[in-house]
Amino acid sequence: MVSSVRDSLKRNISYLIVGPTLKVFEAFFDLLIPLFMKSIIDLSFNQPHDSVTSIIISLIESFPKIHSETIINYCLVGGMFILIMGIVGFTTTMITQFLAAKCASNVGSDIRLSLFKKVLELNKKELSSISTNKIQTIINSDTFQVQQGVMYFIRLATRTPFIIIGSLIFSIMLDYQIGLLFLILIPSIIFIIYFFMTKSSKQYLLIQEDLETLSSKVSDTISGIRVIKVFNKEDYEKNKFKINVDKYKKDVSIASKYNAFINPLTFAFVTLIIILTLVSGSNKISENINNENNAFLPSTLITLVSYLDQIFLTVIVLTNIVIIFIRSLASSKRVNSILSINPSIKNESNVKKEIKQKEEYISFNNVSFKYFDNSKEVLKDISFKLNKGESLGIIGSTGSGKSTIANLINRLIDSTSGEIKYKGMNIKEYSLNYLREETSYIQQKAVLFNGSIKSNILLSNLDTDDNDINKVLSIALADEFVNKYPEKINYEVKESGKNFSGGQRQRLSIARGLIRKPELLILDDSTSALDLISDKKIRENISSNYPDLTKIIISQRISTISSCDNILVLDSGIQCGFGSHQELLRESKVYKDIYDSQNRGEK
């Protein structure tokens, strides 16, 4: 686990130092090539020596003759040096490239894994402030951006500035006036590119939003196609879509305008510098025609034009790298924002405890919960007890806080105030593993994972055989459809179980909960997509197969919970009754109202 992007970079520090250092060789050799060419020209045409190339010239001159014709000899020797530099540079670069790939992949995978582990530790409260979409983007695309950033850093962070600065230094050494001209004009090119790029990248944020609008429009249309057709709104939707498309078109056109400035302006600037170099260079040469020690030669002019080419090409690379770096910096901030979260619910101790039948299993003492300091309380002053082997029904309308109680028992969240006791001790004393191992919390939204029916059932209990699986499937009434597949329990489950109906998913998720042989079973509206007969049958099956099970049944239907030992009645987070069905009919008005609404005076 790494705690931040920086942390992961530190672990790979050796790559980050060695890689860029090796890269300097190639860059340096690239800078020398134009000087070698100049030296060959000067030697061949008997030009006066100039101080910049004197070392290279003496190197070529002192090399043993390999050809009798002087000029051919110079060319061969010079060419050989260039070849050797090329090969050495290539070799070191290849090492760098490998180090870059290795380091980037290390950092990327470190960060991804740490993010994933961190996210799995976050509780519902913490998750409620980050959208799942954001988490997924950070794990999948932001880490990739960081990885790209690391790779390009190693590959180009030294090369590009080295080439640009080196070319400028050599140009100044060759002729300080023209060199200074480069020094002033090169930043102006960079500025122009930068100016239009930031303009257009701001515009691209808008374009990104436009694309998101388009995509949400399309997904809205597809998911609501039946409604659209019932309302005869096809033409209306088409017009609305056209407005979105036109907005996108307009925003892209503006960005294109900014982009269209970059190439012609840089082209114009570079050409302008060439013109100035030519004019001032030829002036210098002609002024000093008769001066034997003249340092400014026709070859100097050629070399300067070459350096200018090189600077210009590298500046383009540099702007691209800057974009990659900016992106990866933004991404690494997003990565850090997740990695720096300190999960408030942690695995702390290893207390385990057994209790006997009819002893207090769970108790709530004035428990309240809210998501944020300034938000409304989801639960307020809830108090009740549940003994081992008994059943508790929780009833209330949507949004009354029923599921929140289940979340608290499972420690998916912690209460804001009040105390929850589990087997007589504060629930926070237990390790999360122990707590969750003993409890099966079956949620209303039945989610299956990509794999097979078997892999989904086994998700929580790996050491069981097929007989156990078949048993829980039959308890959950899932056997009737599972056995229809030729592959039976090995039948494929597609992503999020989309090849199963809502009712089938709920039955499988009940089976998944039962195979763990839990002490406490929480059914949170887990049969909402089932018809009443199946719903009842499943509850009966569970009672007869697991007589000692402690149960919490959450529902909106009186019929589902009326047989529970105790029933907790909730209304907008407030406890409006606790007792048996008969007691509540007498004592709780809310309960009586719900009962009446569901029975309509019949029977």
């Binding site: 490239q97 992949s105 799995l120 609008t213 949400s216 026709p298 070459s306 019929s559 309509r600």
Partner: protein, 579 residues
Amino acid sequence: MKNKRIFSYIKPYKKIVIIVFLLLSVFLVSQSLIPLLVGRYINNFAKASFTDKITLIINYNQSELTKYIILISSLLLFGSVSCFFYEYYLAIFVQNVIANIRLDIYRKINSLSISKIEGKTVGEYVQFVISDVENISLGISSFIKQLLQGILRILITTIIMFCTNWFLSICVIVLSPLSLFVSKFVAKYSYKSFNITRDNTSNLTSYSVEATNNISLIQSLNNQEESSNKFESLNNSLKKSSVMSQFSSSWTNPVTRLINGLIYSLVGISGIVLVYYNLFSLGIGDVSAFLTYTNGYTKPFNDISSVIGEFEAYKVAMNKIDELLDNEDDIDSTKKLDDKIKSVEFKDLSFSYDGNKDVLSDISFSIKEKEKVALVGQTGSGKTTLVSLLLRFYEPTKGTILFNNNDINSINKKSLRSHIGMVLQDSWIFNGTIKENINYCGTNNENEVYNICNEIKANSFIETMKDKYDTHITSNSSLSDGQKQIITIARVLLDQNDLIILDEATSNIDTLSEKIIHNAFNSLTKDKTSIIIAHRLSTITSCDKIIALNDGKIVEIGSHKQLLKNKGYYYQLYNSQFK
């Protein structure tokens, strides 16, 4: 090639295309001539002298040089202006083409039949409209910017070089593409590891999406460790393959640089030798021009070869879109249903989705004007299918439905649906304000919106929201399922229809609120015909007619009282609610 459709999109912009092409040519000619002129300029004052000692003599002719400077400056002007307009018009052209493609796709989606539309996932359609179209846009612009521009540049540079010196030209032309072959060779080897990396990436992505969508579930199943381990093993295989693919792809640049550097020196050195021996009357400035051409000569080749990948993506996207646009529109009829719906009659109707298993068989019953009919039965008994047929989302396999004694197959769909309102099982909330979501039918009378919401007690939660009726909501909003259902009920009640269908419209609403809504619904629709599908039977006891379905067949028809007396299927179903 099946990709002919693109031409029909380009055709309306023929003029822009021609202008873009002309501007591009002007730009490329100006840009390519500059190195030659720079070379000529140098030639002009530095000539090789072959008299006694071979050296370069300086011949400074001010007026001659000024001519060149003026020439270069005017090329600068032409080049940069045409370059700007070329890039700008190209973008405009591409944007217009892809906007039209987008609109056509969207239009097509709206005119397909329900079974066609629902045969693909939402994600697939989003991909059509977003990424596939983006790929087409990329394909077209890279076709012009890289392929066309690259070919033109090679052509123009080649001509200019040949006009200067054929020997050096052949050197440049033969040697420069060498780096291209090498990089192709590298690409071929890295292709395999790239594919592996891509597969590994998508495995990891789909696993992480699945897991992060269900964090609480994983926690409560105590499955964090297994999840992390699975992620770690997927992550490790991605790491391994990504080292290989990133390394193998990073060969291209150094290899190209090495080869280009060598060619550069070779051209330079042979140029010097040619000048020295006074061959082909080559000047030293020409050598400098050739060095610039050598530097720039491989770039268009690289551009052209990089187009291939983008072009593949373009072809795949275009074929997919082609296929979508080639789909037949949904069948329709012309007869209008002008009168109110007075009677609906199902006649021996059977229906099957796949042609094998009948979902509905031999359904016959009729509904009179203002009647309230309930459909009951277990999950999968065919209730939703039945009402889908009523809206002509599907065509019956056998038998038919008569509206005012007109065969449904002869009635125009729009005209049929204009009489029917329906609340579906899955509540549809679109990106917009609450008011827009409720007032989907588009009535001008805003008061009606508030009245309806008042009646069904929707305003109680809407008023607590941030901007009340103007609160922006999306399908993923924090609205509860029940609240979403209430909004969709209000939406249908606002639209004045003769026949209203509720398909488990209150399944997620608590029983107290459900009662209120049903009372309101009954009073608002007392003059209308309605069909109600419900799990909770307490809501339909007052209906005129209850139709019990089991396994796609009608088991019983009658009023609540009659059916209870019968002690048949409905009786069983009803009693199961109260244990």
